[in-house]
């Protein structure tokens, strides 16, 4: 499947879920509606698209300039040896998106990391808990509003609590 026909086919399948297509340094980028993320990715996982691997999931904070968080998904199709990047914007006021748990097994940790670092809520996630920082950490460190080298309050020892 050529690049053009692939995008054509994806657009046909996903319909209004696709808001736009872009090209960034040779990578194909699909811009999705935030409320359509889960069904769209579920459809892409199945043949004929066959994007069976969720390579990566992360987020970019554009809150200060544009008032939004951008979720970035990287998919990989083992059968066709192509990668695809998908983006979806959520408002920075109450960032939330549907969870991918149930579609891919690594989504659980990837989403916990994004929740930890950005405070994006994943609806339907069974265990949305901080992953890299600890319970009681204040704020979300990868947000642009979080200062670099901010000190965290000391947490009491377990015996003191």
């Amino acid at each position: 499947m050529g690049q053009e026909t692939l995008i054509e086919a994806i657009r046909k399948t996903l319909g209004p879920a696709v808001e736009g297509v872009a090209d960034s340094f040779g990578d194909t980028v699909l811009i999705l509606r935030a409320d359509a993320v889960r069904p769209a990715l579920a459809a892409l996982r199945e043949p004929p698209f066959d994007y069976a691997v969720l390579l990566d999931l992360t987020c970019v904070d554009f809150a200060a300039a544009e008032g939004r968080f951008e979720l970035v998904y990287h998919l990989y199709s083992m059968a066709r040896n192509v990668r695809l990047r998908l983006k979806a914007s959520v408002p920075s006021a109450d960032p939330a998106v549907a969870s991918l748990v149930g579609l891919w097994k690594n989504a659980e940790w990837l989403e916990r990391e994004v929740f930890d670092m950005f405070g994006v809520r994943f609806d339907g996630h069974p265990y949305l808990r901080r992953l890299l920082t600890y319970e009681g950490f204040e704020g979300h460190p990868l947000r642009k509003s979080y200062p670099w080298r901010l000190e965290q309050p000391r947490i009491p020892l377990k015996d003191e609590a």
Partner: protein
């Protein structure tokens, strides 16, 4: 009151909860595995990571494109050169830099040295934790020979920062060919010995055969890559699937396993090291000997600076020994000239006004390496699997966002599933065969 973890809230009242780690000799770095036990049997497991979280991604947003390279050394600290490579190739992709042939070959050489040392470290630790201390010592010995080659050229064993945007920092050390010959010969010998010690060893087989088994489908669903995925029979290797550097011109095979158990992960790594040694020999034959520097008198740096105050220096300048290999005559074949992405030659910086200006234009804030606006993803095959960098640039001298796709993040996330229903003793070889590297996992 701290909220209960999943395992605490779901545990049966009669079962025992046990922490394995974070401070435990077999937890490579720091990882906490909470186990719900019925006797020696594991009913449920939960991993807690983040003990080595140093805010790598946040730090990178506050460092210039040039300065953040040193932080990439500290991700997978057993094969730092591959992390350097992943980062610089992503930046090069954004800036459209064409890297000279010699630098590309040197990069392949360094990648493969790192891959072998990565696999050696993983298997050495795994074997030691299963009681095979001899294997640990043999493999560490081989790793020292490999690190000699790296150390000669880069000046460091682990924190190398050698692969730079545009090429490499300096040319190979004059004695690299002999050192590499020794390293390859000694590593082959060690691999043969280790094969003899472990391949049919009933204790080792008992701990690894059929233990920690994962299916092809589960491995893909967990986003596994690298030797762990290949042990399930999926021949995915970034070097073959999306070739970079000169890998498409070299011949090597991608070994795969059948069952996806601990033994297959061991065996895939052993066979991959043989392929990497093959690659090292091929690429060494392709790298021509460095042209000797022109003969003739050289002046000391202090003398050159003194003379340059009165008139332009024409004499050749001796560089300090720690800049060996990055002489001006050599840099042309090692780094891309256009766009200006690499440190200007020191001879010019200290003796001419233009040289000094170009030095400042490289290091001053707001100047230097500045990829155009946009985002890019690029990945290379690391020791553990696909090391990917997703970088967003806003056109300034610092990345707007830099995200690392750490291969062992995905691999370790499957640990809970792999050990549930097994015995406590099975945690050790299963975890050992995953090659968890804290720096990369926790960032």
């Amino acid at each position: 009151m701290e909220a209960l973890t999943r395992i605490q809230s779901r545990a049966r009242p009669e079962s025992m909860l046990l922490n394995m780690g974070p401070s435990h000799p077999a937890m490579h770095g720091t990882l906490r595995i909470m186990l719900e036990l019925d006797g020696e049997k594991i009913l449920n497991a939960e991993c807690e990571i983040g003990y080595l979280h140093r805010g790598f991604e946040k730090t990178c947003e506050n460092k210039t494109w040039f300065n953040l390279l040193i932080y990439t050394d500290r991700l997978n600290y057993v094969s730092p050169l591959i992390n350097n490579l992943g980062y610089v190739m992503t930046v090069e992709k954004m800036m459209g830099v064409a890297v000279p042939e010699r630098a590309q070959l040197i990069r392949v050489l360094m990648s493969e040295l790192s891959r072998v040392s990565d696999h050696l470290t993983c298997l050495a630790a795994m074997a030691m934790e299963n009681g095979a201390f001899t294997v640990f010592l043999y493999m560490m010995k081989a790793r020292e020979y490999l690190w000699d080659v790296i150390e000669f050229t880069t000046g460091a064993r682990m924190t190398t920062s050698y692969i730079r945007v545009g090429g490499v920092r300096a040319d190979l050390h004059p004695g690299w060919r002999d050192a590499l010959g020794t390293a390859v010969r000694e590593t082959r010998r060690v691999l043969k010995d280790v094969s003899g010690l472990l391949d049919k060893n009933s204790i080792f087989l008992g701990r690894t055969r059929g233990v920690g088994t994962i299916s092809k489908e589960d491995a893909l669903s967990y986003g596994w890559t690298g030797p762990c995925l290949r042990s399930t029979g999926v021949p995915y290797d970034v070097r073959k699937a999306q070739p970079y550097l000169v890998y498409d011109r070299l011949s090597f095979e991608v070994p795969v396993g059948e069952r996806g158990d601990n033994y297959d992960r061991y065996s895939v790594r052993m066979r991959e090291m043989e392929q990497s040694l093959r690659l090292l020999e091929q690429v060494a034959a392709l790298i021509p000997d460095a042209a000797p520097l022109p003969a003739g008198p050289m002046i000391e740096p202090a003398e050159a600076i003194r003379r340059s105050r009165r008139e332009r220096t024409v004499e050749r300048i001796r560089l300090s020994p720690n800049l060996e290999g990055s002489e001006k005559d050599r840099l042309g074949g090692l780094t891309a000239a256009v766009p200006p992405v690499s440190v200007p030659s020191k001879e010019d910086t200290y003796t001419s006004m233009e040289g000094l200006i170009s030095h400042f234009l490289f290091f001053m804030s707001g100047k230097g390496i500045r990829p155009p606006k946009g985002d890019a993803y690029f990945s290379v095959e690391g020791g553990n699997g696909e090391v990917g960098f997703y970088i967003v640039s806003d056109g300034t001298d610092r990345p707007y966002r830099l995200h690392l796709r750490a291969p062992c993040f995905h691999i370790v996330s499957a640990l809970e599933q792999l050990v549930s229903g097994r015995l406590i003793a099975d945690v050790i070889p299963t975890f050992g065969s995953m090659n968890m590297i804290g720096g990369e996992l926790d960032r």
